[in-house]
């Protein structure tokens, strides 16, 4: 007699240690195999795009801190780049260099978290993650030195940065940057030679090149699938044209490739910070901008390569002090579009690993 079988529905989240915030996946399971996935968003929706319309351009910078709260510096940067484009403002060179140093430190910090949490999701519970936290902590100390904040920096300003670096910053940064490659290599060695990590990540969750492009994936997810696309190279902003660095890409598009791309990018960020420290010019850190900023009527889209992918702000000005419309291009949300294709047909044990390898931040998904 044939046994009667039926599918059942499992809710992963919203309170789940592997969903990195309040995010829910509604999984339809046939035994252990996933048949359908429906991501459910909105638990952290604060209506930032609507709120931004009620505040002035400089006031909106603090909201950007609260999008991807693991990468506040790059959020600040994307927003000020967009406003500067809209209002035709050019930040002084020293400010651009400081922005680059902060953005690259932020990228390292965000990638450390991504790699740490991925291992957490794979079952290496907390131990590797705490080492990543230890290294990230030093970056937070550096940021604390610069702007007095550890999470929501509010450091960048339209036309510059809020304050110059203190004199003890560069020696501390140098010391940190010198110690970091050894750390990354050591842990990379422990992990990339670990057979369990390899079995769980290689050839699992493959996103092909064509799919990655079609799904508008960005950042390490796109590059992990073998597409050499990095806004810092493809459409350089700030002073990135002056630095030598590589754009690492994967070949298969599996979890391992996305993980490798992040590891390599940390090394590249270190190289960029070294060059930026050497070239750092003296001078002003803030351009002269009107006390009450009223950008001319029109629209602008400013974008940067954030740690999680292309982060952009689309702004419409009606000539008043507040943006008429502010839209965030959220890499976390758009990268999640591919989740369904990645998860259907795989075993539930791999679901969290695949999800972790996309690296999202719910603050940015829901906004």
């Amino acid at each position: 007699m044939a046994l009667k079988t039926e599918t059942f529905i499992l809710n992963a989240g919203p309170q789940h240690p592997s969903t990195h915030g309040v995010f829910r996946m509604r999984l339809t399971l046939d035994g252990e195999v996933i048949q359908d996935v429906e991501p459910v968003f909105g638990y952290l929706h604060r209506g930032i795009e609507k709120l931004a319309e009620g505040l002035t351009y400089p006031q909106d910078i603090v909201f950007t801190d609260r999008l991807d709260y693991l990468a506040s510096m790059t959020n600040n940067q994307a927003y000020v780049v967009a406003v500067e484009k809209l209002a035709g403002i050019q930040a002084p060179e020293r400010a651009e260099y400081l922005r680059v140093i902060m953005a690259e430190l932020m990228r390292i910090s965000s990638h450390l978290m991504a790699v740490g949490f991925l291992l957490n999701d794979l079952g290496a519970f907390l131990t590797p993650l705490l080492y990543m936290y230890r290294e990230r902590e030093k970056i937070l100390d550096l940021f604390d030195m610069v702007c007095g904040q550890r999470l929501t920096y509010n450091y960048m300003r339209i036309g510059g940065v809020s304050q110059d670096i203190p004199e003890e910053f560069i020696p501390a940064l140098k010391k940190y940057i010198d110690s970091l490659p050894g750390f990354i290599n050591e842990y990379e060695q422990l992990l990339a030679t670990n057979e369990i990590v390899l079995i769980r990540t290689k050839n699992v969750g493959i996103l092909t090149k064509e799919s990655a492009i079609n799904y508008s994936a960005a950042g390490p997810v796109l590059r992990g699938s073998g597409v050499k696309w990095d806004i810092r190279k493809a459409d350089p902003y700030s002073v990135y044209e002056r630095f030598k660095f590589e754009v690492p890409v994967g070949s298969v598009g599996d979890i391992y490739d996305r993980y490798r791309v992040r590891i390599e990018e940390m090394h590249q960020s270190i190289a960029i910070i070294r060059q930026a420290m050497e070239q750092l010019p003296q001078g002003e850190i803030q351009a002269k901008i009107p006390k009450v900023l009223r950008p001319p009527k029109g629209e602008a889209y400013g974008h940067i390569e954030g740690p999680k992918g292309e982060l952009g702000f689309y702004l419409v000005s009606d000539g008043s002090t507040n943006p008429y419309r502010l839209h965030v291009r959220p890499p976390s949300l758009i990268n999640l579009t591919a989740l369904k294709e990645l998860l259907v047909g795989v075993k539930i044990a791999d679901a969290m690993a695949i999800f972790g390898s996309i690296d999202i931040c719910v603050g940015e998904v829901d906004r």
Binding site: F41, G42, E49, A234, D235, Y314, H327
Partner: protein, 147 residues
């Protein structure tokens, strides 16, 4: 550096392929009629030499007299981009064709526009509110929304 293609040239090509589709063009922006949007988007994606295979972002703005939808298209291969726009004047029954079948990356972004602006995308495979709950009254990003 990503090249911004001249909108007038793209508009001329679109007009030749789909007569009467272009409303206006300037800078790097082409505005097409709402009923022709899908065909224009499909043309831009599939025409050799243009190859806009990457939908960078998709959003809307409420200008009170009309909604404007903006599609930022990129060709990764050629590293060039163009902005495609369309305008919807009917606020009550704002509807435009879904582009999910061309770029699957539009999926959540169209749901977001549906949720926050109340614009319909009839061909969308799973059109329902994305951030707000089903019983929520109104569309917050419309300018006439009262909270």
């Amino acid at each position: 550096m990503t090249t911004a293609l001249a909108a007038t040239e793209i508009a001329a090509k679109l007009e030749a392929a789909l007569p009467g589709s272009v409303v206006e063009s300037n800078g790097n922006t082409v505005v097409v009629k709402d009923v022709q949007l899908f065909r224009a988007a499909s043309y831009l994606k599939t025409t050799a030499g243009l190859d806009f295979n990457y939908l960078n972002y998709l959003t809307a703005t409420d200008y009170q007299t009309h909604f404007e939808l903006i599609y930022d298209l990129i060709s990764i291969e050629h590293n060039h981009h163009i902005i495609l726009k369309t305008r919807l004047t009917d606020r009550e029954k704002a509807t435009v064709a879904s582009v999910v079948s061309l770029w699957r990356g539009a999926d959540f972004q169209e749901r977001e526009i549906y949720d926050l602006f109340g614009i319909n995308f009839p061909e969308h495979p799973n059109l329902k509110r994305i951030f707000l709950w089903d019983g929520f009254q109104g569309y917050p990003l419309r300018k006439d929304f009262k909270h």
